[in-house]
Structure formats: structure tokens, C-alpha cells
Amino acid sequence: MFQNRAEAFALVLPAAIFAGAIFLVPVLILLSEGFRSADSWTIQAYIDFFSQSLNQAVFLRTLKLAAMVTAASAVIGYAAAFAIVNLPPKGKGRVTGLIVLPLMISPVARTYAWIVILGRTGIVNQALVAVGLSDEPIRFLFTETAVFIGLLQLFLPLMIISLISALENMPRDAVPAARVLGANWLQVFTKVILPLTKEGLVIGGTLVFTGSMTAYITPAILGGSKVLMLETLLYQRVTMANDFVSASVIALILIVMAFAANLLLKRLATARNKR
């Protein structure tokens, strides 16, 4: 398309300068903060961070919740995506639209909606008490369960959409062929659908995992300071303690975990393929 590389380069330069100046440089400065000491480079800040039990707990909780949300979204996502792919074209468009719809609504609004639903006088508690399943309102808000539900609702659409496109790229008759060859539905899933859609699962899984790990609003509103996650901890360190070193440490941990999650998911996918 271009006569020479210079033209293409010239076109991409403004975006590159912008991204470099606004994004890359500040991130590098922030990250370098965590390795700096009076006269040399050190990883002391990381050792200090992980030696505190609160930080350990927050780190593990973040990992656990992100993993749980990813796993749950995969299970629910496969069921939903499979059903949607098998709808007639008209219905498929409509249902896909409904799934994308939440992505267009502010996460703040969506998260506050959960307070209406899960709060002491929320719909769920009123129903539980009315039916007699519980004598008094159960505390959902500011628990890990609330954060889990909020994050799952937030990121499930990304998983479903990734899986829909993966399922649509599967050979049309692969599932009926497996059925006729004697596979029950579980075998159809593990031996045909899963290996053929693993790229979609890796993409969806990475999006949901990193999204859950780095989400701020949902854990802040539904978890508060009772259920701290790395992102809410980071915000606390900066606003309350002006502690940029911890912030830098947490930021790098989040970045590393995102890449690690992606690598791990890819590895899992190829391992299954070889078998």
C-alpha cells in the first residue's frame, strides 16, 4: 500500500509519540520507583511488600477471585455461547445484542445496582426472609461473594463473545459428527468443542482474568475496605499513605500476573491438544 517504509512510519509516528509520552514513560517511571533505593537498584520493596500478612492476603484473594470469576465465566459462557450459536440468525443477533448491552452501561451504575439487589433491605434478602429461608437479612455486601458476583456480571459478556466467535469458527458438522460416532455430550465437549475453541477460551479467559484482577469500581463498592483487592489496596496506599513505592510494586505485580495468566492459559490449551 505504501511506496516506502518512511510514509508508513510518518503516519504511525504521532500515535507512537502520544502513546510513548502519555503511557509508556509514566508507567516506566512508576515501575522504576519500586526498584529504587538511596544509591542503587534493589528488590527490597517487593520483599517488604510480600512480608506483610495483609498484603499476602490481598494478593491471594485477588488471585483467587480472578481465577474463580474466570472459571465461572467459562462454565456459564460455554453454555450460553453454545445456545446462542445454535439460534436462528435473527434470534442470534438479538441475544448477542442483549449480552453486549451491559458493556454500554456505566460500571458504576451497574455496580450500584448490585447494592439494591444484595443490600440488607435488597431484593434477595427480602425474598429470602419472605420465603422463610432465612430469619434475618444475610450480609452479602462487603463480602467476597458480592465482589465475585459483581465481577462475574461485569466480565461474563467478554467471555461469551469470545466463545461465540470461537464456536462459530468451528466446522459446522463437527458436533453432530461426534454424536453419531458415539460421543455423549460431555465427550463432545471435552474431545471436540474444547480443543476446537481453545483460542477463544484463552482470549476470553485472559480478558476476564486481567479484568477481574485490575477492576477497581466493583471491589471498591461491593467489597469496600473489608474485601481489599490489589487494585483497591493500590488506591488506598496512594491516597491515604502517599506510598508510591507500594503502588509501584502492586502495579508491576498486576502486570506480571496478567502476562502469567495469558501464558498459563495458552499452555493449558496446547497441553490438552497434544493428548
Binding site: 466446522p171 459428527a177 454424536r179 460416532l181 460421543a183 474431545k191 471436540v192 476446537l196
Partner: protein, 344 residues
């Protein structure tokens, strides 16, 4: 159960939601038969096949195979094989693994598995391709892997959906012979779906012609080819000049035209192949509106008072020019006498 009623469809109705695709179908297929389901697209032939395979549940009626009612048996528990039009090989598995797929699920393993897979691949002449992925094979080879994958399961009935439609002309001939050979050697009851009358005539022991969800005619290739029962079947197997008959006349676009000859009282229509039309002599006249050379023969499209007539004569005869006016005849003794009309 007798051998002639190996697979029976009894009042089977298939529908998609409220749309009935196949109403009340009755059909018996004998053990070891090679049967063609022939019909235009949308006639319900593929739907019928999917129902036999268990991929679609009949709204009503029964499917009985080898004396067992399999109407409610799920697809994975039926002794039925299906070769898909798209072949439906698993792209993540190599040829060997594709063929082994069903056997492994059956619990076959070790040397027994190995032997059956290798034998299956040998049958279709692909043993040296065992480690290839489907994407590295030609269409014809994929077709044969798909065939082997179904055959190693030793199904009681093997279904093939348009088995030759994705192959080029030469491969099609080769695969035709191959399918017949595999069927004769294994003795498996084989039903294939096709929209191509040539394919059906060449391969099948018996042809079931379908139209709009019902069976229009069942017969041997000779029956179907020479004695179509309806205007639809006649047209489908190459009787391109089809007329409704009333008394000693045929109905045409320009009114009834008298025709000479003996016609059965029950005959509702008359049909002629282009080759049955006498050219150069006869009571009718037509103007040449098109000619095409077809090797041994030359085909003419005539504009006539009866409507358009397709005629054909030996290519060694001198060609008639466009616009030439030719005498012709529709000899009744050659015509197919149709018991039903109105389905065209």
C-alpha cells in the same frame, strides 16, 4: 423382522418448529441394500437422513432398525454411521485419530484399536496418510477418511449426505466405484442422499425420489429411468417434454393438441426425452431457437405451437441453422405414460 424390512420408517413426521418438512413418511429398506434418496434441494431428503441418524427427533411416527425401535435412542447410541457432505473431519486430530475417534469411545483399545484403524485406512487406500492432518488432504482424501471413520464402527446402516457433490468430475467417478466396492465388500446397508439423478442411477440398487417431503416414486434405476410415474419424476430424469393428457389430446400453452396413438386409460400425462422426439418429419412444426453440440448428439430447442420442445439427434447428421423451421413428431409409442401429473 425380515431382511426386506431391515430399516423401517413408520408414519414418520419431521418438523422444524411449526414447519412440517416430512409428513407421515413410510419407507422400508432391505438389509444390504444400496439406496439413493433422490430429490431437489429442500425436498426433505437430508432431514430424513438426519432423523435416521438421530440428529433430529421425529414429531411423530417410528424408526425401527433391525427389529428395534430406535425412535427415542440418542444419536450416540445408534448403530448408524453418517458421512457428512462437509466430511466433518476433526481438524485438531490427524487421520489416524479421526478414524480411531468412535472406536475409542466404544472402548476399543491397544492392538485391536490399531488393527481396526489401519484396516479401515487400507480399505480406502490411505494407510500412508495416517499422521496427516485433515487440512493437508485433498477433498477426495478427506471424503475417504470420513468414510473410513464411519465404516470402522461397523454400523448397521451407513448414511452418506451428497457424498460426491464436493468432488470434481474425475474424482466423482472414482469415488462412485469406491463406494459401491466398499458397500458390496462389507454388505452394509447404505443410504445416500443426492440431487443428481446420474449419481443415483449409476450407484443405487433402488432409488427413492422425494419431492416436498413425500416420496414421489420408489423403484430400480431402470424403473425410474424408463417408467417415471409423475411429471416431476419424468422431468427430473430427463424427460424434458412433459404434457398433461386428456383423452387423445395433450394440453399445451396454446390449447389442446390432438395426438395419435394408443394411450392407457389411466395415463394422466405423456413425456418424451429429447432423443424420443422425431426430427425432420411429422405433423408439427417448430423453429430452431437454440442448438448445442453434445459430442455424440446435437440438441435443439424448438419454438413450437406446443410450447418449447427439446429435441436431439445424431451429431453426424447435418446441423440445422438457427431460425430453420423443422417438422417433428412426438410418437406416443415411445412416450413415458405418467400415472400422475400436477407435481411440476
Amino acid at each position: 423382522m425380515s431382511d426386506s424390512r431391515f430399516l423401517c420408517l413408520e408414519k414418520m413426521t419431521l418438523s422444524y418448529g411449526k414447519n412440517v418438512a416430512v409428513p407421515d413418511m413410510d419407507l422400508d429398506i432391505g438389509k444390504g441394500e444400496l439406496v439413493a434418496l433422490l430429490g431437489p434441494s429442500g425436498c426433505g431428503k437430508t432431514t430424513t437422513m438426519r432423523a435416521i441418524a438421530g440428529l433430529m427427533e421425529p414429531a411423530s411416527g417410528k424408526i425401527v432398525l433391525d427389529g428395534t425401535d430406535i425412535t427415542r435412542v440418542p444419536a450416540n447410541k445408534r448403530p448408524v454411521g453418517l458421512v457428512f457432505q462437509s466430511y466433518a473431519l476433526f481438524p485438531h486430530l490427524n487421520v489416524y485419530e479421526n478414524v480411531a475417534f468412535g472406536l475409542k469411545l466404544m472402548g476399543v483399545k491397544g492392538s485391536e484399536l490399531d488393527k481396526r484403524v489401519i484396516d479401515g485406512l487400507k480399505t480406502v487406500g490411505l494407510s500412508q496418510y495416517a499422521t496427516r492432518k485433515p487440512a493437508e488432504l485433498s477433498g477426495g482424501q478427506q471424503q475417504r477418511v470420513s468414510l473410513a471413520r464411519s465404516m470402522v464402527m461397523e454400523p448397521k446402516v451407513l448414511l452418506l449426505d451428497e457424498p460426491l457433490s464436493n468432488l470434481d468430475a474425475r474424482l466423482r467417478l472414482e469415488m462412485r466405484t469406491e463406494l459401491q466396492r466398499v458397500q458390496k465388500e462389507s454388505g452394509v446397508t447404505m443410504i445416500f442422499v443426492t440431487h443428481d439423478q446420474v449419481e443415483a442411477l449409476a450407484m443405487a440398487d433402488r432409488i427413492i425420489v422425494m419431492l416436498d417431503g413425500h416420496i414421489e416414486q420408489i423403484g430400480t434405476p431402470e424403473d425410474i429411468y424408463n417408467h417415471p410415474v409423475s411429471d416431476f419424476v419424468a422431468d427430473f430424469v430427463g424427460f424434458e417434454n412433459v404434457f398433461e393428457r386428456v383423452g387423445n389430446t395433450i394440453k399445451t400453452a396454446n390449447g389442446d393438441v390432438a395426438i395419435a396413438g394408443d394411450i392407457d386409460d389411466a395415463t394422466k400425462g405423456l413425456a418424451w426425452r429429447p432423443s424420443m422426439v422425431t426430427l425432420g418429419d411429422g405433423p408439427f412444426e417448430g423453429t430452431v431457437r437454440g442448438t448445442s453440440f453434445a459430442g455424440g448428439t446435437r440438441e435443439y430447442l424448438l419454438d413450437t405451437p406446443l410450447g418449447q420442445i427439446k429435441a436431439e439427434c445424431d451429431a453426424s447428421l447435418p446441423a440445422h441453422d438457427f431460425g430453420a423451421v423443422l417438422k417433428f413428431d412426438l410418437p406416443v409409442h415411445k412416450a413415458a405414460q405418467l400415472a400422475r401429473t400436477g407435481s411440476l
